[in-house]
């Protein structure tokens, strides 16, 4: 009489079976996810464990796959815009910008100066919300519950401000071909200035509470090493690349919009570990504040309307051709590649998600680590699953 199921019949799904083929004897195969508190949505990581040490890992995803690229081939150019807010709920405006930028390149649409400055302001504010969300969630992964509440306190202020022009709080669809959908008002400018002043005072508190905390530092230092060679091999970008000492920031190295006007630093860390990526993001928040401040000063002097005259309608036809446009999102290089056959529906839209490439580093980076460290490394990659699954 056995109460235990026959191991041959347990099987699991396709990926479990595929993963188990190469398993060593006497190891434990653990499914971290898809429903797991620290995989931020529905990421699943198959782990082969020896005790608590990870021998092998394989991320499995696609549980949130919505086939945005197919949707792009069924909707008109302008109608695909709302999808861009939904690819990445963390930093939707970067996707807005990437898609708009690609189409603007394709059709040769000029963006007025004022619109460019507005794009920079909102894009950077959105980066702040993205990093705050990551920060809170990451510390939550590491077991501290309180910081996420403090982060959301600040984030709410930003959302309140951003909802003025964009009319949304999370999945923005704000940019249009040739500008943005609504101009910034006086209250937004005042509120943002007040927020920056407030946020500058909050950042030292974040540092005191979390960054300097010895438990956190011991937790994230020297784990998840992703060095420059790995970054190149896997195509990782954003804070992951900067945490490896590569000062690669599209805002500086391939300036888009009017980013070349602003004076800011690209923070880098040479430790290549999770702490490096953490510190890069923390410093980036300060730099974003600097950019927003400078942009707000330039806003009154920026000429032109917020949306170019004769901006294409949602159903407008775009000239045939191809265009690639990349922006620096909160997680790295957000790229959109569009191909048009001259009709009002895109022939092909390819979305290059930074999280996709960043996550692919994980399997190599986490070998030989503890289970708890795997969670810390996953968090430090700043994963937004909808963006990876698209």
């Amino acid at each position: 009489m056995t109460r235990y199921p026959d191991p041959k019949q347990v099987g699991g799904d396709f990926y479990s079976r595929n993963f188990a083929k190469n398993a060593r004897p006497d190891t434990l195969i653990l499914n971290l996810g898809p429903q797991h508190p620290s995989t931020h949505g529905v990421l699943r990581v198959l782990l082969e464990l020896d005790g608590e040490y990870i021998l092998r890992a394989e991320p499995v995803f696609g549980y949130l796959h919505r086939m945005h690229e197919k949707m792009g081939e069924t909707k008109a150019w302008g109608q695909f815009m709302p999808n861009m807010g939904r690819v990445d709920y963390g930093h939707p405006l970067s996707w807005n910008w990437a898609y708009c930028g690609a189409v603007e390149k394709l059709a040769g649409i000029e963006v007025p100066e004022r619109a460019e400055v507005i794009r920079v302001i909102t894009h950077e504010m959105n980066r702040l919300t993205s990093h705050l969300l990551w920060w809170g969630a990451y510390i939550l992964d590491l077991g501290a519950f309180t910081p996420i509440m403090y982060a959301f306190d600040d984030r709410e202020h930003l959302l309140d401000l951003l909802q003025r022009p964009t009319a949304s709080r999370l999945t923005y669809s704000y940019f249009r071909f040739g500008g943005v959908s609504k101009d910034l008002d006086e209250k937004f400018v005042e509120g943002t200035k007040a927020f920056i002043a407030r946020f500058r005072q909050r950042l030292p508190m974040y540092k005191d509470l979390v960054t300097d905390n010895i438990i956190l530092r011991k937790r994230v230092e020297d784990i998840g090493i992703i060095d420059q060679d790995m970054v190149t091999r896997y195509g990782a970008t954003g804070p992951v690349a900067r945490g490896a000492g590569l000062a690669y920031d599209l805002r500086v190295s391939e300036p888009f919009g009017v980013y070349d006007r602003f004076d800011f630093k690209v923070p880098t860390q040479t430790t290549c570990c999770s702490m490096g990526r953490y510190l890069v993001r923390m410093e980036e928040m300060e730099q974003s504040c600097r950019i927003i401040e400078q942009a707000l000063e330039q806003l009154p002097g920026a000429e032109g309307p917020h949306l170019v005259k004769g901006a294409p309608k949602p159903q407008a036809k775009m000239p045939a051709g191809e265009a690639y446009f990349a922006v620096e999102g909160g997680r790295g290089k957000v790229g959109v590649y569009v191909v048009s056959d001259g009709s009002k529906i895109p022939y092909r839209v390819k979305l290059r998600a930074p999280g996709f490439s960043n996550l692919s580093c994980f399997a190599e980076a986490c070998q030989g680590m503890l289970l708890a460290d795997a969670v810390a490394v996953l968090g430090s990659l700043d994963l937004i699953i909808p963006e990876i699954d698209r």
């Binding site: 390149k105 896997y234 590569l246 051709g321 590649y337 191909v339 056959d341 698209r390």
Partner: protein, 177 residues
């Protein structure tokens, strides 16, 4: 751009970065792809993304490469058969290409020869739940390369590739296997 000088290049063209976001566009035959990619890796380029384009001229694989130290994007284009697309994998050179290739396999059914683990990435994986590659175009919508992109300012170009982009429809896809 002298990186591929000794390789048999099908076409080498300089594109306008401001208009297309690409600096150089290369056409390669599938057999040369891996050599070209190896040179890119040695020169410090990284793979941005990889996609397939379903056209009447065949399946066009587009590889975007970028460099961290300077702006500019190199696009490698490889044309394979439209009915049974096959191409050598580059996932052993760029490990990041592993997932990109699986994604293309999902979406367009392109088989990457030599890929260590060519299983579905985003679409249902169980044998009885698999679906047809969803991004394959219907015959009505599929169109030729010349309607989608131009050749830009070519420096070297084989007649076969040039024929694809001339107004007269090309007889058949030239770059097989």
């Amino acid at each position: 751009m002298k990186l591929f000088d000794n390789l048999p290049i099908e076409c080498k063209a300089r594109a306008d970065y401001e208009k297309t976001g690409q600096e150089w566009v290369f056409f390669f035959k599938p057999g040369v792809l891996r050599k070209a990619v190896q040179r890119l890796y040695k020169d410090g380029w990284f793979l941005e993304d990889l996609l397939a384009l379903d056209t009447t001229d065949g399946m066009l694989l587009v590889y975007h490469f970028d460099k961290m130290s300077r702006p500019g994007r190199v696009t490698l284009k490889v044309l394979t058969s439209g009915t049974e697309p096959k191409i050598p994998t580059i996932s052993d050179i760029y490990q990041g290409a592993d997932w990109h290739e699986r994604e293309v396999y999902d979406f367009h059914g392109v088989v990457f020869e030599g890929h260590p683990n060519l299983i579905p990435l985003l679409l249902p994986a169980e044998e009885d739940q698999r679906i047809e590659p969803p991004l394959l175009k219907t015959d009505k919508k599929r169109t030729g390369l010349k309607n989608l992109m131009s050749l830009y300012e070519t420096e070297v170009c084989s007649a076969a590739v040039e024929a694809l982009f001339t107004e007269e429809p090309a007889e058949e896809a030239p770059a097989e296997g």
